[in-house]
């Protein structure tokens, strides 16, 4: 009947659900159920349908399913970059949680260019993703309203606020910076430096660090901002910079790779850590425990952040009410040899 018409739009050899239904001698809906809710079928029917699926090598078209059901089973995640392991751990945790529930992950990177965020959000909403995970709590103009209007569940991560777009799981960057200053001063270091990127979260930590320093009676934090994403070489250069000018007694780096670079520079200059200068990192990446001297760092549970974000989305998608829409995972200063 429509064979002529079909050939105009479809590859002739496409196997559709209807073909499977016919081969199995059942209705389409039975095939649909065999795929989606196999428990609700008589075992014999199920077996027949599955045999037909295998025989015809039927691959269900999830796009058509999404359109019909208005659910895509896709979650989108937007991060500054995955080249930096701190976010890739979060994505890893998120993926792990979602995959178990047959959701898939659409990945967007802003490369720290804030305006990319809006374009990505638009594209993802157009895809009718079922949920969205964002990095940070400050967003490009229009993002907040567009996301809200879409009515899909959204989780912000890697920071915390009492007024999330929808839900948030993270920690206070400001508090982490503050605590780091307190830690260093308590250790006896009276002049402080900061090495970090210029992104919102790094700046929040810097703000907290300065605040904490002031509260401890330390005035002025020698600061070097580096380009993002940053690497060990940036850390080394920044440290050289600090040494040439203010030469603080202790330096807080906004991630462990920068801190590692600072330690390498110290090693090259035969500067004893922490005897001559103390170095503290952030994120507690695997390298922190491995490096020599081992690196004191702020642990932030990046992977768990992803897992919790996934759980929140899944709860919402399964119709449950989410009690706590603001989840503060906190942070912990992990004391090691370098500070």
């Amino acid at each position: 009947m429509t064979d002529i018409a079909r050939n105009r739009r479809t590859a002739a050899n496409t196997v559709r659900m209807e073909d499977v239904a016919r081969a199995a001698g059942v209705g389409m809906i039975t095939v649909s159920r065999a795929l989606n809710t196999p428990d609700k079928l008589a075992p014999a029917t199920l077996a027949r349908v599955r045999a037909a699926i295998d025989k015809l090598r039927y691959v269900p078209n999830l796009t058509a399913g999404s359109l019909a059901s208005n659910r895509s089973r896709i979650i989108a995640v937007i991060v500054p970059t995955i080249a930096n392991s701190i976010f890739s751990d979060t994505i890893d945790g998120l993926a792990e949680t979602l995959v178990e529930h047959r959701y898939q992950l659409l990945l967007g990177q802003t490369q720290y260019r804030i305006n990319e965020e809006a374009a990505l959000v638009d594209a993802f909403l157009g895809r009718r993703v079922d949920g969205l995970v964002l990095t940070g709590i400050k967003h490009a103009p229009g993002v907040r309203s567009r996301v809200k209007r879409s009515l899909i569940p959204v989780v912000e991560t890697w920071d915390i606020t009492t007024r999330p777009i929808d839900m948030v799981v993270g920690f206070s960057n400001r508090a982490a910076g503050n605590a780091s200053a307190h830690y260093l001063v308590a250790k006896g270091y009276r002049t402080l430096g900061y090495i970090g990127g210029g992104d919102d979260r790094s700046l929040a930590r810097l703000g907290g660090f300065r605040e904490g320093a002031r509260a401890c009676g330390v005035h002025g934090v020698a600061t070097v901002l580096v380009p993002t994403p940053s690497n060990p070489t940036d850390g080394a250069t920044a440290l050289a910079n600090l040494l040439a000018h203010d030469a603080p007694r202790a330096v807080f780096c906004s991630n462990d790779m920068l801190a590692a670079g600072a330690l390498f520079e110290c090693a090259r200059r035969r500067i004893a850590v922490p005897r001559q200068i103390a170095v503290m990192g952030f994120a507690d990446l695997p390298i922190a425990a491995g490096i020599e001297p081992t690196l004191t760092s702020v642990q932030v549970r990046a992977r768990e952040m992803g897992q919790r974000a996934g759980s929140l989305l899944l709860q919402r998608l399964s119709g449950e009410t989410v009690r706590d829409r603001v989840i503060d995972l906190g942070f912990a200063v992990v004391e090691r040899a370098s500070a």
Copy 2:
């Protein structure tokens, strides 16, 4: 007319292309063209449509578009893990290339469990992704045939073969291992060790390394395999292991994080590198140039691999014929202080 029916399946306030068309006083297809091929519209018409889109806050439903056009504008990529920066650089390059052409990236991780690959491939084919990027050239049973049958363009990466599923861009892991052995022996190191993961690509490098050693008259390579994904601590432990037994004069590590861990262990034990033991890494991550002593490593152009993979897919998707379906990007031993 169908308003009652619509309310049963659709959020009542959904704005569709038809609504925009009505508001702009044009047909639906004109709205479609305003979105996809704006050059083909009269400027005045285009302006009217765009005004209507803005006014109604219309968000095109790409799922419906995909179904109708049989193109999803989604590329799927499967990697062992993104926690490891070597693959995230490739993904970064891939994303960069695709985003410019309005393609999006669906991410799948196998966590080095080979059977996950088949499940991911099935899910992605069900989504009717327009292209697929795989890691490595050995795949789970059934993957090769299913992917081939789908007829979508596929690029394998991070290794090389004369018989790809479709296309391949990478380098020879075996040759890289071989060259590393030759390099170390040429430097005068006569006993060799290997630290690496148990995945296919690491094993290929090991195979090449042994082959190269043998060719240079060095018999036997002290080998320690570590779990994947590996981190600096694994590298340190593995090095301790080697020192306790065979104590080779030079060690080749299958990635720079393992090598970094080995260097850290040397620092802890006051073992001079390369005077007492030489260490060589793989991948030439940013840490290689930053660490002290700087790390001799094998550079593999991970980002370019992603970019080229993306270009190949785009070429194929735009209907062009791809001349070279096998692209060997090669590798280069970058000599630094550690070996």
